[in-house]
Symmetry: C2
Subunit: 223 residues, 2 copies
């Protein structure tokens, strides 16, 4: 990169950081836990949100912000589950930024429990942009292969949890859950690791319990 390019990038990241801190602060005061989901395209973020909605809906209020380059498809899938959803179409941009979340702020109900943000499907760029979330979760689906943490380090280093998705396929794929967990923990020892399948439901309860615990902790920290 040229010096000019680096300066523009630093400006962009610096201003994003400030907006993100402000969003996190406002959400914390309202007792809303925000979760930023990161992954490659097709790792199963939307289907996971559909499944989580089934488990959380009886006792908690959730809403979803969907980030995509084009189409309203993912927001429509979430709305079909009776969950409020907003679609951000980035029109070419490869990641969400905090200011895009900030623009939706007036529409977000104050009595929510969970705000899930599904980032643009991209294992690289979204890792550089704090959206004001309390938890960042990176999904890695078994068909993507178990060599990804070291090849795409930033998403794994900056996340709070690693969700290994599509576990129903693991028996027929060359994917070693132990290998990937070990590599990911070497890079980021505080990662909490979940193995799940949105297709057969394995592991969904454990993940929703993790989010519920984090919600209670947020509220007791800001009581």
């Amino acid at each position: 990169m040229t010096k000019k390019e680096i300066l523009v990038l630093e400006d962009l990241l610096g201003s994003n950081k400030k907006i993100a801190a402000d969003i996190r602060n406002q959400l914390s005061k309202k007792g809303i836990l925000a979760v930023n989901l990161l992954s490659s395209p097709g790792a199963g973020k939307t289907m996971l949100l559909e499944k989580l909605s089934e488990v959380l809906k009886p006792d908690y209020k959730m809403a979803v912000i969907e980030g995509d380059i084009e189409t309203e498809r993912d927001a429509e899938r979430i709305r079909a589950k009776g969950i409020p959803a907003w679609q951000i179409m980035t029109g070419g941009a490869c990641h969400l930024e905090a200011k895009m979340i900030g623009r939706l702020f007036p529409d977000i109900p104050a009595d929510l429990d969970f705000l899930f943000i599904e980032n643009v499907g991209n294992l690289v760029c979204p890792a550089s942009f704090d959206l004001g979330e309390h938890l960042r979760c990176v999904l890695l689906s078994t068909p993507e292969g178990d060599d990804k943490p070291k090849k795409y380090p930033k998403a794994f280093i900056t996340s709070d949890s690693l969700i290994i998705s599509k576990s129903d396929l693991v028996s027929i794929l060359p994917f070693d859950i132990e290998r990937v967990s070990k590599e990911a923990l070497e890079m980021n020892p505080r990662l909490e690791i979940f193995v799940l399948s949105s297709l057969n439901g394995d592991g969904i309860k454990e993940l929703s319990d993790y989010f519920i615990q984090a919600l209670h902790k947020l509220r007791s920290d800001h009581a």
Copy 2:
């Protein structure tokens, strides 16, 4: 984006375009066909190159440039097949640029037939950067889902061919080859579509024939 950001991006893309045109021109004169492979992480680019090397090696000389954010893993896999390979580690950058290919130019043997470039695993950013290739191929693996062309349009609009990979999994996945082909062709009617599995070998011969035909065309155009 601010006006300053847009200007920096335009500079970057403009200078990339010139370098790419120069690379393409030099390769054409030498009769080397360059192929740029684009996809999400884990769609099977490296394994496809391993399989292609088995089919092409008896009659053609190929080499591979591997783009990754970190690690030499992919270049090592290709070298293990007896194929020359160079690893570009972008150190965080989400795509390859033409100048990175240009720097390797002195090392590339003049008597090659095929130069394959495996881009960073990212279905978004690499689509904006011409690397001087003659053919751009986007891979979409069946586990990623059949809704991807409209959600990540640029990679599909700028490619010459669509390679639907991991076809061996199609019977157990919700992936409709006809739907995805139809959507992709609506966006880009000149796309040539291949369906293949590097695991069981289906469709590999058809794809290698396509590259061989393109090589002959390049050489007759520049004879």
